[in-house]
Amino acid sequence: MIRFVRNIALFFVYAILFVALLLWLLGGTRQLRNVTYTLGGNDFLYTKSHEAESIGPVDVLFIGSSHAYRTFDPRVFDRYGVSTFNLGSSNQSPLQSEVLLHKLLDKLNPRLVVFEVHPDIMDLDGVEAALYQVCNVKPSWRMLPMVLRTKNMKVWCTSVYAFIHNTISPEFYSFVESENDGNHYVGRGFVEREVEHFSPAPLTTDTIKMRREQLAALRRCVGFLNRHDTPYILLEVPDTKVQTSAYSNLGEFQTEMSKYGEFLYLPVASLNDSLHFTMSLI
């Protein structure tokens, strides 16, 4: 039995190294189904995460999904003498926010964190955003718990490839993200897009589901901020009327969110659904 356990342990280590090596060697060929390495994207996470490392302290840090990075324009806050940085990214759920907070909170040292929460985001498995984050943010062991929590082989394989590739490849450090799909990086995390005519289509009513792992990640995030003595507010950004009215239990979601700290919800009544309102969702 001892021989069996010893050989299994040896083989386990050997297999992990062997598989990691092959993932790294062959991951770049784009032939492996479970390695989907993509550098750059609509939300400029690569650019903003690198910029955040050197920008220095700010007054307010915004973090969250695309609702965050398309909503809070640092130029507007500049007019009032408030320096801000926007760490929002596509589909970013609390699982990914946790990584960014651990990695960048000390460097940005904000006086306030605005943590954007959205009903749709709390129901995500976090796979898409995790893939995006492991490819675009500098490799760090802090990502490991997030990667493991996704319980997804695609995230695991891509992470192995991205970790090795981004650590040793000069290509990662010299990459310049360019404008894509009409998205323009303004700076300090904000991504601008031309205003488009918005024609809301009716949505079927659905119940907001909040995943246990996302709520747990949110709890860890606010716990981290508390330990760091950084004030924070949870914010649900304005949404279209058509979207808001499609939730059958929005009140329940808001009650749940208010358990994690001060929660703000900007009412949608003043927004015009029919003209020049760009849905920036997900």
Partner: protein, 472 residues
């Protein structure tokens, strides 16, 4: 709990460790196996544990009563009827009610249907429990008094939900005697598990992507695509089910328990009779021993042989599920089998193909190809949701339409993995399983195993892909 799930990756090492810690206390070890098996099964729906406990309890009690010679025939039949009734209610009631309503009530069946959820693996463990009481009645095995060992025999988790369907004569004694850890057996089990995972998670699941797309709308595709999809489904169902069996048998070996072989390179068969000796062996032999031979087998008048052949194949088809397509599939195979048995050529190929040679003869190649094509045609009916669908599929086999090339993108690994699977199985066709140890150098073996693990993790589907036979 699925074999290809993270839960199982935690479950198995924990159960393995505790199981061998209890090796000196057989009763406790069996009790632990039973608890672990019930946990494994209850992961789907704990309510069905009552059903498996009822089936086990009935068969256990009937065994004791038969051995005490208290109306043994009546007791045996009583156990058979009650167990089949339970199976019938859960699996077939709605089918018969719907068919009755279609015939006599103009299809209005709402008030007749029960809409019961089919308990996972019910067909497998029911047959396993039935074989016990029949064997006790026949005197082939002695009734056990060890209730824990018997319950563990019925519910042993590696083979609980999709077989192999074990016989009391081979599995029950293994629970009744002390087991010692066997290094070679455990390593062989891990090897077999790895091969099973490769077949399921790479070969079968990748084929499923193609097959599901084509079967979702066969009208949109041309004949060549439909032919490729039919053949790929043949590969998929083999990779899926034999992969499951390999994982099950391999897992059992980790616990020092040997299960019977369920597949023996069936696609290297040279005729349908050989195919049925190599495909789902535990079910085929069950029907042979408990239905076909009691009916007289092939040693009766010709018309009875014909009848027996149809009975066995129709029952085998119907065992798979409550749908006319399964009956049609069984009927189709009966038609293919009948000429062989009537001409007494059903036992022509008893050895594995190309025994003692590396390559088959051209005539063997043709025979294997023809058998594979015929079997693939049968699988189209099996895979179809209705007879009408299957007829439409066949009608389009020679028609025009768009082509779906099984290469590139998500199908990149499909053909290479199929070729690898059949090559490895060809090399091991005469061995006890398809991934037996060949290379004497440990380092090379490890490279081979690690490469297989790499292929699995790099190409497996990330969404949960249940085993096809779980639905039966």
């Amino acid at each position: 709990m699925l074999f290809n799930s993270l839960q199982f990756a935690w479950f198995l090492p924990c159960v393995f460790a505790i199981y061998w810690l209890l090796r000196r206390w057989l009763k406790w070890q069996n009790l632990f196996v039973l608890a672990a098996s019930y946990l494994f099964y209850g992961w789907w729906d704990w309510r069905f544990l009552l059903l498996i406990a009822l089936t086990s309890g009935l068969s256990y009690a009937s065994g004791l009563m038969i051995e005490r010679r208290r109306r043994p025939l009546a007791v045996m039949w009583c156990n058979v009827v009650v167990n089949l009734a339970i199976l019938g209610v859960f699996k077939y009631y709605d089918f018969f009610a719907q068919s009755f309503a279609n015939l006599f009530l103009g299809g209005d069946s709402d008030h007749l249907l029960l809409h019961l959820i089919l308990p996972v693996g019910i067909s497998f463990y029911t047959f396993q429990a039935l074989s016990y009481s029949i064997d006790v009645y026949r005197g082939d095995v002695k009734a056990t008094r060890d209730i824990v060992a018997f319950f563990a025999y019925v519910s042993f988790f590696p083979q609980l939900v999709a077989g192999p369907i074990e016989r009391a004569s081979s599995l029950l004694p293994q629970f009744e005697r002390e087991r010692s850890f066997n290094y070679d057996l455990a390593v062989d089990g891990l090897r077999q598990m790895l091969w099973g995972f490769f077949k399921k998670m790479v070969v079968a699941d990748t084929c499923a992507l193609y097959v599901d797309k084509v079967f979702a709308s066969p009208d949109n595709f041309g004949g060549p695509t439909l032919i490729v999809a039919a053949m790929l489904f043949a590969v998929q169902i083999y990779g899926d089910f034999s992969g499951y069996s390999d994982v099950a048998i391999g897992t059992a070996k980790l616990f020092g328990i040997r299960l019977r072989r369920n597949f023996n390179v069936p696609y290297f068969s040279r005729d349908i009779a050989e195919f049925w000796r190599r495909w789902h062996i535990s079910l085929t032999s069950w029907f042979r021993d408990y239905v076909y031979i009691p009916l007289g087998g092939s040693r009766v008048a010709r018309w009875r042989v014909v009848l027996n052949t149809f009975v066995i194949f129709l029952l085998s088809g119907f065992w798979h599920g409550a749908n006319w397509t399964f009956l049609a599939w069984g009927f189709f195979h009966a038609l293919l089998f009948l000429p062989l048995i009537l001409l007494k050529k059903n036992r022509r190929f008893r050895d594995v193909v190309a025994t003692g040679r590396y390559l088959p003869t051209p005539i063997d190649c043709l025979r294997m190809l023809l058998t594979f094509v015929l079997v693939s045609l049968g699988w189209v009916v099996f895979r179809s949701p209705s007879i009408g669908f299957a007829a439409n599929y066949f009608a389009h086999l020679f028609g025009k339409g768009s082509a779906l090339i099984p290469w590139g993108g998500e199908y990149t690994v499909m053909l290479p993995s199929i070729v690898l699977m059949f090559c490895i199985e060809w090399l091991n066709r005469a061995n006890l399983h398809e991934f037996e140890r060949h290379c004497p150098y440990r380092m090379l073996r490890w490279v081979g195993y690690a490469t297989l693990i790499f292929i699995i993790v790099a190409f497996m589907q990330t969404n949960e892909m249940p085993f096809i036979y779980f639905q039966f």
